[in-house]
């Protein structure tokens, strides 16, 4: 299980390195194309400067930005004890050094995400919709998946990969526009002098091809990394909970929900448990999504023989019909061999109605509503701007003083 982090870090490092190489090569050719004489070096310098600026911006915006953007609100144990307990359980299972902060988003679309470049500053956020539709075992699966992202350092990796891919896209865009509007000074100057015309032509062609292909390639690598991390997080979630069915059934419920998340955008998409941007009716696309298709994730989880990494790997190969697994070899040998799946918990889960009321009450409280319990059983929620001194119960017409 620990070997897996190291192995993934190596593999992901290779992919990130390829993207960095792409950025440097693109920079060089653009420099040669537009500036001419030794322009390649300048182009590389420009590309690296762009990358540095993007990195600095992302770094100083910090982890809080996701939470602020999605309107998340931090909760304590007394607010939602079950959620708090489940997060604490998964902290223990994953061996994280600190329990992540818990945030709740007032959104009916069921989804969840994790942030934090380091496990020490990590936070998990879930939407109100998620809390309402999932039972305890399912919630545990989702939280385990998010904790796996934190434990595997996925947040940091996807941040780096995203910045690199972004830099390549921006650079290629700039190059294409420059070409459109009569750039390429070197073209006229050098072809006049006559020497090196052949080499110049090759550079020109390569530059144009790169400008078109590099952004596509960078995005493909980025998405491939992202999807791979999702499979690994699913595998880790199964290993943490010893109960793959919990996550499988949660994914099914989430994918069936009609609401789509309001606050998600392309930058935050890879952080969620399912792709929040997936349009209705569209099959989760093969090469163009940050997440693997949900139906496939569910099938892999459901055909697992146990809950160990080896089981996930075998199931992955069976479902995908290929020879290549998704878990690194070194992780498979380190993994405890006999981690059997547990049976579903028989513990009490509050009914969906009770859960929904609990979540709603939390948000009413947070919004500053005042609660009055009428003797007839009704509960009056008085909005913060209420000016009158009395409120009448709609059921028994008793007037309460506010």
């Amino acid at each position: 299980m620990w070997e897996q982090i190291a192995a993934n870090r190596r593999k992901s490092a290779v992919l990130v390195f390829v993207m960095a190489l792409l950025l440097v090569v693109l920079g060089w050719f653009l420099g040669e194309y537009f500036i001419g004489e030794n322009g390649g070096v300048l182009g590389v310098a420009g590309a690296l400067a762009l990358w540095l600026i993007l990195t600095l911006v992302a770094w100083f915006q910090g982890d809080q930005i996701f939470l602020t953007m999605s309107g998340a609100r931090k909760i304590e144990k007394k607010d939602l004890p079950v959620l708090h307990n489940v997060v604490e359980e998964m902290t223990l299972a994953s061996g994280l050094p600190r329990m992540p902060d818990i945030y709740v988003i007032d959104d009916p679309a069921p989804n969840a995400f994790a942030t934090g470049r380091k496990p020490e500053t990590a936070a998990v956020a879930v939407t109100a919709g998620l809390l309402k539709i999932l039972d305890r075992d399912e919630l545990q699966g989702v939280i385990a998946h998010e904790m796996a992202h934190v434990r595997n350092r996925d947040v940091l990796l996807m941040l780096f990969a995203g910045i690199l891919a972004g830099a390549v896209v921006i650079l290629a865009e700039v190059g294409l526009r420059g070409m459109w509007f009569g750039g390429g000074r070197s073209r006229s100057r050098r072809s006049d002098s006559g020497d090196g015309g052949g080499a110049q032509a090759i550079i020109m062609i390569v530059a144009v091809v790169l400008m078109i292909l590099a952004p596509i390639l960078a995005q493909m690598i980025y998405l491939a990394v992202s999807r791979k991390r999702e499979y690994l997080a699913d595998a880790s979630a199964a290993a943490f909970t010893r109960y793959p069915e919990g996550l499988a059934s949660a994914l099914e419920k989430i994918s069936r929900a009609p609401d789509k998340l309001a606050s998600a955008n392309r930058a935050t998409a890879p952080m969620y448990i399912i792709n929040p941007l997936q349009r209705d009716g569209k099959m989760a696309a093969d090469g163009s999504s940050t997440h693997p298709p949900i139906a496939e994730r569910v099938r892999i989880l459901r055909s697992m023989g146990g809950s160990a990494f080896a089981d996930y790997d075998a199931s992955y190969r069976q479902v995908r019909g290929g020879k290549r697994g998704v878990i690194p070899k070194s992780a498979l040998t380190e993994d405890p061999p006999a981690a059997g799946a547990r049976s579903p918990r028989t513990e009490p889960t509050p009914s969906a109605r009770v859960r929904a009321r609990e979540v709603d009450n939390l948000f009413y409280n947070n919004a500053g509503y005042q609660r009055i319990e009428c003797p007839c059983g009704a509960i009056l929620k008085i909005p913060p701007g209420f000016t009158s001194t009395g409120a009448q119960c709609p059921h028994c017409n008793k007037v309460h003083t506010v």
Binding site: M1, W2, P81, V82, N85, V86, E88, E89, M90, L92, A93, S94, G95, F240, R242, E334, P336, R345, E347, P348
Partner: protein, 191 residues
């Protein structure tokens, strides 16, 4: 010049010795790190076991009024809890803790037959606390066992076994719950 040439093998030897020492230090530090991780993982298990121990008097107080006909079940829990204080060695302690898990499982199974109890918010909150603590124990135990396995692999396998032998690193004990105790379905008697 001659002096310098004669010194080359010496430098090579010194260099090799330095590399060897650094290699040993690396493995030694790795073992220390693992041993600390095992301690830390056990501390997490222990915190949860203590928490469960402390929650039980509260639970007993709450159910007492409702479950008059379940003297035996309640007593079993109290006795299982008392057995933990009496357990001296780690294997004894582990067995006593498993006994408490089983006794609590029976108590909660029997409680299904008492609608008044099920309606008590106090009882429901306690039940969530205890089941969650039960989960936390098993998850912390799971992580502890994984860490112990990594430690034991290092201690047993070459070349770690040589360094471990030199500095007296020992294999750690797994926290295993016997399958029967864990899987045993609580017997409910509604007669």
């Amino acid at each position: 010049m001659m002096m310098a040439a004669a010194l080359i093998p010496l430098f090579v030897l010194l260099g090799l010795a330095l590399v060897l020492v650094m290699w040993v230090v690396g493995i030694y530090n790795g073992l220390i790190r693992l041993r600390n991780q095992v301690k830390e993982a056990w501390a997490q298990v222990d915190v949860q076991l203590k928490r469960r121990f402390d929650l039980i008097p509260n639970l007993m107080e709450t159910v007492k009024g409702y479950m008059n006909h379940e003297r035996e079940t309640l007593e079993a829990v109290t006795q299982a809890r008392a057995a933990i204080s009496g357990a001296g060695t780690l294997p004894d302690r582990i067995q006593a803790e498993s006994g408490l898990t089983a006794a609590l499982g029976r108590l909660f199974a029997v409680s299904e037959a008492y609608p008044d109890l099920k309606a008590s918010t106090n009882f429901l909150a306690l039940q969530e606390e205890l089941t969650s603590t039960e989960n936390k124990i098993s998850f912390a135990r799971q992580f502890y066992n994984e860490t112990v396995m990594r430690m034991n692999n290092k201690v047993q396998m070459f070349p770690g076994n040589i360094i471990a032998g030199m500095f007296n690193f020992k294999e750690e004990t797994f926290f295993e719950v016997t399958e029967e105790e864990q899987r045993e379905a609580p017997k409910v008697d509604f007669s």
